[in-house]
């Protein structure tokens, strides 16, 4: 008999990935709706701040390749 401890007891969860759970709910802990909602709000607020950060110009300029070649090498 192998009394392997469940994955939740391992300190590094990236080391072991448990078998896929079909509905993701039967054998794993679930957060209460209030906690889940609060967590979701905080995660979205965090992400929204990252989304609002201005895009660096050099990333936008990469797409000039799609504009044809006029003006593409005018970089001063």
């Amino acid at each position: 008999v192998h009394a392997t401890p469940p994955n939740v007891l391992l300190s590094n969860p990236s080391e072991v990935e448990g078998p896929p759970v079909e509905d993701g709910s039967s054998t794993e802990p679930t957060l209460s709706p209030g906690v889940a909602a609060h967590l979701g709000d905080r995660l979205r607020a965090y992400y929204a701040h990252l989304m609002s950060d201005p895009i660096p110009d050099h990333l936008v300029r990469l797409l000039q390749a799609l504009d044809g070649h006029e003006g593409a090498d005018n970089d001063d």
Binding site: P20, R42, Y46, L50, D53, P54
Partner: protein, 190 residues
């Protein structure tokens, strides 16, 4: 039989779709890596590889999901090569953003960044895609190259771990963590 779409007629929507995807790619890459410089490198190489492989993009599918897949694959290639990992444990990241989070929200922001860094990469990417970026479980499974059950399982574990790390308790329980946190905020503000 008209196998190939005329590139002339598709340029404008493709350009716009790629442009629209950039803030999403950046937010995903920054939250995944915790490093803005590296994140922008990932976004840049995803855009370049997208441009080079536009003939492989299927019209009518999501440009954003396609670019997410490219970016995510590049990130994993880098991880395998150099074991590059999240390297912003002290919350330096917030100070590198063009616009810093407002005073009151800044602690929330740095706490979230630090907590995300404690998740495994697999859990982090799944949670970010579905709970922050808002893609469907199916799309997240495609982007991450895995199946629906695995994605749901990773997200479930990620949520549970994140709630622990951030000490989010049930509403009626104002635990000692929150009281200490409140005291620390007051202290640092004075």
């Amino acid at each position: 039989m008209g196998m190939k779409a005329q590139i002339m007629t598709t340029e404008a929507p493709i350009r716009q779709a790629m442009l629209d995807a950039i803030p999403h790619l950046r937010a995903f890459a920054i939250s995944l890596t915790g490093n803005i410089t590296y994140a922008d490198d990932l976004v840049q190489s995803a855009l370049l590889r997208g441009l080079e492989n536009l003939d492989k993009f299927q019209p009518g599918t999501s440009m954003q999901a396609w670019l997410f897949t490219i970016l995510r694959n590049q990130f994993y290639t880098d991880l395998r090569r150099s074991r590059r990992e999240v390297d912003d444990p002290e919350g330096v990241l917030a100070g590198k953003l063009a616009v810093m989070p407002a005073q009151g929200a800044r602690l929330d922001f740095t706490d979230m960044q630090a907590a995300l860094a404690h998740l495994s990469v697999e859990q982090r990417e799944a949670l970010l895609l579905v709970a922050a970026e808002g893609v469907s479980y199916e799309e997240a499974a495609q982007i991450c190259g895995t199946n629906l059950g695995t994605i749901k399982s990773r997200i479930n574990r990620a949520r549970t771990r994140l709630a622990e790390l951030l000490a989010i308790n049930s509403e009626e329980d104002l635990g000692p963590d929150k009281l200490v946190r409140a005291a620390l905020v007051m202290h640092s503000a004075s």
